[in-house]
């Protein structure tokens, strides 16, 4: 039987590509319409692109339901904005709280227009992963493997970081703490490396 994955659609970007990639790694995906629909999710994915303010749609009822599932040991994966939401918050929306399962506050990347050292923000394109741990989410991913990013805000490198990436500064590109994992890039747009990470998540789901 396929594992049922709840893909939470809080209207932060289009989910067509994420659905397609999850189908490619054998996941049965559904979109919960209300927090109680999470009851039979074997794994939860919080995707999202755009402004941290969009996570306001994930209100107390949603966060309680998600935390309840995580408390039962069901894996949670945050993608891009979804990774940032795993932290305590973001300077992009200082009044809004994140899920808070990871410590730290997300902040904006600094651009640089110095000739020869140009750093554009947003950070868009393929960049490399520096492996920092042997967390299950990064299993089978080579040090230096490249993945596709598109974002302006980042999470700090902490003991939860499984990989870091550098764009002007080093930031957490893959994180895992227990059954909670996150990726700052788009695994659904990162070729075989991205699919491997989604397969790793499916293995965590079991």
């Amino acid at each position: 039987m396929q594992s049922r994955i709840a893909l939470i659609d809080y209207k932060a970007g289009n989910l067509t590509s994420v659905r397609k990639a999850l189908a490619a790694v054998g996941a049965e995906v559904y979109t919960p319409e209300q927090p109680s629909d999470l009851a039979d999710a074997q794994g939860i994915i919080v995707p999202g692109v755009g402004h941290f303010g969009a996570t306001a749609a994930l209100d107390a009822e949603w966060t309680d339901a998600i935390l309840a599932r995580v408390g039962e040991g069901r894996p949670l994966l945050g993608i891009c904005l979804g990774l940032q939401w795993l932290y305590e918050g973001s300077e992009e929306s200082p009044d809004l709280k994140g899920l808070g399962v990871l410590s730290g506050i997300c902040h904006k990347l600094q651009g640089d227009s110095t000739e020869g050292h140009i750093i554009k923000v947003p950070h868009v394109g393929w960049n490399s992963l520096d492996r920092l741990s042997n967390a299950p989410i990064i299993d089978g991913v080579a040090d230096g493997a490249q993945v596709y990013f598109t974002h302006s805000y980042v999470a700090p490198v902490t003991s939860d970081s499984a990989a870091a990436t550098t764009h002007g500064e080093r930031f957490a590109s893959i994180v895992q703490r227990g059954q909670v994992a996150g990726v700052q890039f788009h695994p659904e747009k990162s070729g075989e490396v991205g699919l491997q990470i989604l397969r790793n998540f499916m293995k965590m789901v079991g």
């Binding site: 227009s113 140009i118 947003p122 868009v124 394109g125 960049n127 070729g191």
Partner: protein, 256 residues
């Protein structure tokens, strides 16, 4: 370190890639999905499907093409050509496009960039600018923007229009040199650098790719973040892999 991207453009008419294809081993030389698969194996970083028919009747065929390419490729896919309205963009996104590219429609209605950025995020909105060297009424050198496939002067300068597009919500600029398009004498590095330095969003250079070293030039002198080409890849004059090896040998960061 952020890699410089190599993007292949598929010009599609009536569901078939045009501009000629010269690959061996493809089931159908002009099938977009077949060609996309080939480029993916060679290590292309991103694909652009440009609908060069873009008539109302063909829109459904275009959605089928996007769907066929998106089904098995897990790299960014942009779609352009004939996107005039929010509904056109929505159809492309629903079919599997990660980004939509607006050209004439954005010049006519710049607010469409904002509408789409609000709906899908700036990362999904590409402003395509076709421009060439010109002199304005006061004798100043400018990069004159043209719409409708280069046929109509928009009376705007590319640098100024790129800045406005960024401010209105575009997440990338696809800059095509009308002077260089199809010439294979190299990208317009001066124009690319002028636009790239004026905005903080990525600039994709297009038009003029001929030799491997043209790409080195556009990533250094041209300050481009990505480079797009069509025919040099279609005719297998250059494999994507060979191009990236060349770039790496010249200290340009690439995904290999």
């Amino acid at each position: 370190m952020l890699s410089k991207r190599i993007i292949a453009c598929l010009d599609v008419r009536d569901g078939q890639v045009v501009k000629g294809i010269n690959f061996e081993g493809l089931r159908s030389a002009g099938d977009p999905a077949d060609l996309a698969r080939r480029y993916n194996l060679e290590g292309i970083d991103e694909l652009v499907i440009l609908d060069i028919t873009a008539t109302l009747e063909r829109r459904r065929a275009m959605a089928d093409t996007i769907r066929a390419v998106a089904r098995e490729l897990f790299i960014p896919l942009a779609v352009g050509g004939g996107i005039k309205t929010e509904d056109d963009a929505a159809a492309a996104v629903e079919a599997g496009a990660d980004k939509v590219s607006l050209n004439s429609a954005a010049l006519l209605n710049p607010g469409l960039l904002t509408t789409l950025a609000n709906r899908y995020g700036s990362q999904a909105v590409v402003c395509a600018i076709d421009a060439k060297h010109a002199v304005d009424a006061n004798g100043n050198k400018i990069y004159a923007v043209y719409s409708r496939s280069g046929s109509t002067a928009a009376n705007r300068d590319a640098v100024e229009w790129a800045r406005e597009a960024e401010q209105r919500g575009a997440g990338e600029i696809l800059l095509t040199s009308i002077d260089r398009d199809g010439t294979k004498i190299g990208f317009d590095c001066a124009m690319t650098a002028a636009v790239s330095r004026a905005v903080s969003i990525p600039v994709i250079a297009s038009g003029g790719a001929g030799r491997l070293h043209d790409f080195v030039d556009v990533f250094t002198a041209g300050a481009a973040d990505a480079a797009l080409a069509a025919s040099i890849f279609h005719y297998a004059e250059t494999s994507v892999h060979a191009l990236k090896e060349h770039l790496r040998a010249h200290d340009i960061p690439v995904r290999l």
